[in-house]
């Protein structure tokens, strides 16, 4: 490297060129950053590729329409688990969505104070409670009273997980609605409750639905809270008070079993589950992009 001292320096050249060591460090660190991206993307692609490879190869009509065969027997499917998952998720949504949206409305419209901060912080902390612990609580408050495992207990567990997420996203979306809109409504003499429901909430609909769908997608794949609430079932069940099969539970049981055919079905189940979740998330992204509020 030529030293700047050798030539008679004009004022323009008094700034020393960046030292070689610093330039090398710069390039090395850029390389490291690119390397980390590759290292993170490789498992992602590996998981997706393997999932599609095994899933597509394993799925068939029987899998989607039949109930499980007895242990060790090949064939059968997870139709009851797919429907059971939908059933438990419907229960969870019925319980969780109104409460979550209501809590979000409270936080956005009435909760700009210390008490609102307490609820906000509680919701954030609840978001981080391990799902298995939520399962214990659902077991304690539903299963112990009913004296048996049930779809309802599973629904309660998942609802408890949905509420904090929905509350926080609903709040964020309502806060994006311009204040002038509310004031315009008040100016027309519309009561506050009517303003909130018909104008604020309606304006923020696409964002609120995004939040609900994200919470839904998050709990759709949950296994841990269903282990000792919904328990699983080899047969059809659509009764609230009976143990019910769920797709994630079935994947878990089959994945750990020693039978090749069950492994195949576990992959098919995982594929169906991912397709359902990714469809939900992409639908949401699409809806948000063409909706009014694109800030989700």
């Amino acid at each position: 490297m030529p030293s700047p001292k050798t030539s008679k320096a004009s004022p323009l050249h008094t700034v020393a060129p960046i030292a070689l060591r610093r330039r090398i460090t710069d390039h090395v660190m850029s390389g490291v950053a690119v390397l980390t991206v590759i290292l993170v993307l490789v498992p992602l692609f590996a998981i997706f590729a393997y999932l599609i490879y095994r899933g597509v190869g394993s799925i068939n009509w029987a899998f989607l329409t039949q109930t499980p065969k007895p242990v060790g027997e090949a064939g059968g499917g997870m139709a009851n688990a797919i429907v059971g998952s939908g059933f438990i998720l419907a229960l969870a949504s019925i319980l969780g969505v109104p409460l979550g949206v209501g809590a979000g409305i409270y936080l956005a419209e009435f909760g700009r104070n210390r008490f609102g901060d307490v609820i906000r912080f509680t919701a954030d902390v609840l978001n981080g409670v391990p799902s298995i612990v939520i399962g214990i609580v659902a077991y304690a408050i539903v299963v112990l009273y009913q004296k048996h495992f049930s779809a309802l207990a599973g629904g309660v567990a998942l609802a408890i997980m949905m509420i904090p997420t929905i509350a926080r996203t609903t709040e964020e979306m309502l806060l994006l609605v311009p204040q002038a809109l509310r004031e315009a409504a008040y100016g027309l003499g519309i009561p506050r409750w009517r303003t909130t429901l018909s104008i604020t909430l309606r304006t923020a609909t696409s964002g609120v639905i995004t939040g609900i769908m994200l919470a839904f997608a998050r709990v759709a794949g949950e296994t841990a809270p269903l282990l000792f609430t919904a328990l699983g079932n080899q047969f059809w069940n659509l009764k609230v008070n009976e143990p019910t099969a769920a797709l994630p539970l079935q994947i878990y049981t089959y994945g750990l079993s020693p039978y090749d055919d069950w492994h195949r079905q576990a992959w098919a189940g995982a594929f169906v589950l991912i397709v359902l979740i990714v469809t939900a998330v992409s639908a949401v992204r699409f809806a948000v992009r063409r909706g009014t509020f694109g800030a989700a």
Binding site: L35, F110, V129, G135
Partner: protein, 346 residues
């Protein structure tokens, strides 16, 4: 945003409705200000606020309920063992002797191992996406990383059993034991199912969380910090180190702790690959057991009050640890992104 909101037809809809309502009222005459809706609006408002307050209180009630049930149901175990529960090595359901130490050890070691792997990678990805990445690549890249977060835990577990575990036992474990066996951390038979497998799958699962929060924190670092560093003649890396990372370290720390909280409570994927044996072994090739895994495996089959109460007490301990960890993380992230709603957990 306000502009795009205005032309929506549903926005304008209420106006004519209200207009007709107003015109239907009897002419004002002597009364200068007729009550438009009487007092019904006020009552409605009060009822509405009360109903929404109940929903808000439900959030508090849920936390209260979790604490109440866990404390109440773990009573028998607390009375039988006291503090020794957390120091005991034995887990013997037959003789009703319970100690949680192996599970606490397994949870801590697997989570720390996951952090060790995930933190450098996540920060690298966040730095790349915010500071170096071409704009066209930024959207797809963060979408893919978010997609990782959408995969259910049980599917990670399935992948780990069928791909990661064979990979470990055939290639990675033999390699590690020949090169690093002298440390004592990588000794023993390479079965694949091990603490190491649990740590790796946990790392893959928490990378999206840490990197998305780090990205969020890096993006709120003021642009003039970067410009100032560059104006002083810093290279890009020096600018990132001095101008960006140093300013964002509290928030990055928050993201890391949030990832730790997730790793501590993660159940299914870990249960499927950690081996589920309540032992404390120095080698990462040995099987272990975590607090969440023992709950997943034994809770529905627990017979006897003390057995069940012991499991619930493990749940209570797990709950308290994650609450503290999460609260700490939230506070750290809040100090950095204060005033801007956080979307990291959505």
């Amino acid at each position: 945003m306000a502009f795009s909101a205005l032309p929506r037809p549903d926005m304008l809809a209420p106006q004519p409705v209200e207009a007709t309502k107003v015109s239907n009222l009897p002419p004002a005459g002597k009364h200068p200000a007729p009550p438009l809706r009487g007092t019904s609006g006020e009552t409605g408002d009060r009822l509405f606020k009360f109903a929404m307050l109940l929903c808000g209180l439900a959030v508090l009630a849920m936390l209260g309920l979790i604490v109440y049930e866990l404390v109440l149901r773990s009573g028998p175990s607390w009375h039988a063992f006291g503090f020794k529960f957390f120091a005991g090595h034995d887990w013997d359901p037959v003789n009703e002797k319970f100690g949680a130490l192996p599970f606490i050890y397994g949870t801590l070691v697997s989570s720390l191992l996951a952090l060790l792997i995930a933190v450098p990678l996540s920060i690298g990805v966040a730095v790349f996406t915010t500071e170096m990445c071409p704009a066209a690549l930024r959207g797809p890249l963060s979408f893919f990383v978010e997609l990782l977060a959408a995969i259910p835990s049980v599917v990670y577990g399935l992948w780990a059993i069928f791909v990661l575990v064979p990979l470990l036992s055939n290639y990675i474990q033999p390699f590690l034991s020949t090169t690093l066996g002298w440390t004592g951390l990588f000794t023993g038979p390479p079965y694949g199912i091990s603490m190491l497998a649990a740590g790796i799958i946990l790392a893959i699962m928490i990378i999206p969380i840490i990197s998305s929060i780090t990205r969020e924190v890096l993006m709120v670092v003021p642009q003039h910090q970067r410009e100032a560093a560059l104006a002083l003649g810093a290279t890009r890396w020096e600018m990132i180190r001095v101008g960006v990372l140093r300013n964002a370290r509290a928030g990055i720390m928050g993201g890391i702790i949030l990832g730790l909280g997730r790793a501590l409570g993660e159940t299914m994927a870990v249960t499927m690959v950690i081996g589920n044996r309540p032992e404390i072994a120095k080698s990462l090739f040995a099987p272990g057991y975590t607090m969440a895994s023992v709950l997943a495996n034994e809770f529905s089959e627990a017979t006897g009050d003390v057995y069940l109460a012991s499991l619930i007490e493990i749940g209570l301990a797990l709950f308290l640890v994650t609450i503290v960890v999460n609260a700490l993380a939230r506070l750290l992230v809040w100090t950095v992104t204060r005033g801007q709603p956080s979307r990291a957990n959505a």
